[in-house]
Structure formats: structure tokens, C-alpha cells
Symmetry: C5
């Protein structure tokens, strides 16, 4: 999984019907210090994340393992809102 | 998922029979501002996208979860046409 | 999916038995204009592609969805020979 | 699979319920000499790894094949703690 | 699939129990001329590969499709030892 920050919402009226009622959020990848990285992802929200939330993204078939996403043609999901990251090791 | 713009159509007569009747579209990846990125993908269309459409692509086993793509040997599908992206957060 | 050109054949006598009788082809990734890119892939042929063919490659679990590849431990398959690509949009 | 070093712990109270009781660890990718690389991953611990452990990470649907992770929406898991790497070949 | 050269062995006593008895090999990715590339992978051996072998690696859920790897939480497997690569096309 990777970290991301929710920065926007996707609006789509013409879409696969399995997406009806699902919240599609624009997520910017960030590092573990919260610094933005280059990648962004559109993910379904499974945990009531809001705009600006610092979240955990899961990808691939694993993204379909939540109640909000099962059997849907989506490959990314928000599975947690991050409260804190406790860094205990340093790497040179 | 990522954003893309549909820029062309693939013509193939010799192909896996499960692809018969499926529309194979050439999609250029774009960022959330619509600027073209380097990657392109060939995806099956599940939402009646047209040339020039701004779309959402899903990959991997999840790409087989639409009516248009189930059990087919394809790893990318267009699952939505984007109407709008509402950016509510800025990242420095 | 991505485009590739078939540039060679793999010879292997000691291999997983599910690969017996399968044609393993060396494929160089190309862009939609046919220009070679850096990546190469070894893929199973599901469509009677030949040396020099311009083909479509599919990856991951989707690569096991053809008659030639089902249940085999392979992650790339040739699913179509490209006749033509009709580009209808330009991106600055 | 790749090598990583465990460098921290993720704290999250609002998460998919399947994650309750699972340890989410921050892992920095390292090369086979132990030198840190650029990527990091958040992975579930299946082997009682601790802070600073040198571990093996597995990804994708395979990450759901341990007792600790089955059916959970996670795409990375720690499957082993590395005792030693015996390098027997050199590559120029 | 990609090519790799086996350059070492992983020793681990604390690991997911499904890994007991499986040989975990350190593999350096090489191009089709045998030149080492930057990536390395740890893969399970399904074909009695040895140190220095020039092999074919398969990834993802497909890596679990051999007798040696089924249901194990591993995402990379050695499926063939390469005898020869016959290049028949040149790309400028």
C-alpha cells in the first residue's frame, strides 16, 4: 500500500453501472513525511475519507475486497485514514 | 485508476476470439489537468466512449469486471467518461 | 494492453510442464507509431503470430484467459495481430 | 518479491474493518546489500517482524495468501525475515 | 515474463509456513543479450534452477500456477531455464 492525500472529486454521469453511488476521489501520492510525489490515482472511498484526508491506498484485485468495492471494475481503494506514522528506524 | 484521452482505434482481424465485437481504443494517459503524459494504453470500451473522450481507465483483473470484458484476456478497460474534476486541495 | 513487435523465439528444454507445446516469443515494446521502446517481454502466442508481427500484449491474470494459456504460470500473452491504428485526435 | 527494512508503524482508527488487529508496518525497500532504495511500502506483517527487521515483501493477490491477510483489501505482506543472503555469482 | 540470472540464495528461518521447503533464489534481471539490468527479484524455483542459471521469471497471480507455488504468498517464480534465444528481427 502507499500513502496519498485526497485532493478532489471525480464527476461522471456516463459510467459502468457498478460505479453508481460510489465516491471516486482524486488522490495525490505522498511520501511518509506527507510530501507530494509525482503520481496520482483515482480511488474508490471505503472509509468515509474527506477532502484533504491523509489515506492509505490499496491496488489491484485487493482493491475489490471491501464491501464498497466488491465485484466492481476498480483497481484502487482507500482502506484507512492515517492518524500517525511512528518512525523508529533511520536509514542512512 | 488513471485518466486518459481516447485518441484512436485499433483494427485487428487476427485476434483471440473473445475479442470479437469489442472496441479496442488507443488511450493516451493525461494528468488531472488534461495534459498528456508519456504512457499510452490500449483499452476495451465499456461505456460507449468516443474519439476524444476524457475517460477513466482501470487495469488488471479488475478490467474484467464489466459486462463488456468478463472472461476476456484484456487488462485495461474504460469504465467512465469524466464530466468534471473538482479540485479542492492544493499541495505545495 | 500495449503494442509490441515479435523479434525472436525462446528455446527451453527444462521448464514447467504446463509450458510444453507453447510458443514463447521475445517481444520488443513499441509505441503506436511502431518506434521501439526500452522494454521487452517474453509472451506466449495465442494468435499464430510470426516473427516480425506487430502485436497486442496483455498482462497479469488476464494473460491466462485464452485457450492457449489457461492455468499456465505465464503473465504475458499475444492476443491480437495489429492491422492498423487509426489516430483521430492529436494532443499537443 | 523484494527486500525491505521495517522502519515504522502506521496508526489508524478509521479503517476498513477487516484491518482490525492487523499490524501495518512502514517498509523501506533495500537492495540485496541492504542499501536503501527510493520506494517505500506499507505492508501487513505475517511473521512477527519487528522494527528494524530485514524482510521479504510479496505483493498483489499473493499478499492475501497468508492466514493474517486472507480476504483483506491489502496488497503487500511481509512473508519472511531474512537471516542471510548467499551471493554466489557476480555480474559485470 | 522477463529474463534473469540466478545470483544467490535467501536464508530465512522465520517465515510464512507455506514457504517451508521452497527454494528462494535471488535473481538479477538481464536483457535478452544477458546484460544485467538494475532490477532484482526474489523468486521461488519451480524448475530446479541452479546458481548462475539463465532463467525466465513470471510474476503476480500467475506465479502461483506451478506445483511448487500453488496457494503460497509468493509473487515471482522461475518457470524455465533458457537454452537459447533466437533473434530474427532487428529494430533500429
Amino acid at each position: 500500500m502507499i500513502f496519498a492525500k485526497v485532493i478532489g472529486t471525480i464527476v461522471s454521469s456516463q459510467k459502468d453501472e457498478s460505479l453508481n453511488g460510489k465516491k471516486l476521489l482524486l488522490c495525490k501520492e505522498v511520501d511518509y513525511k506527507g510530501n507530494p510525489l509525482k503520481s496520482y490515482h483515482i480511488a474508490v472511498d471505503a472509509v468515509q475519507a474527506g477532502e484533504g484526508s491523509f489515506v492509505l491506498l490499496s491496488f489491484g484485485s485487493s482493491a475489490r475486497m471491501t464491501e464498497a468495492t466488491k465485484n466492481a471494475p476498480i483497481d484502487a481503494v482507500i482502506i484507512a485514514i492515517i492518524d500517525d506514522i511512528q518512525i523508529t528506524q533511520t536509514l542512512k
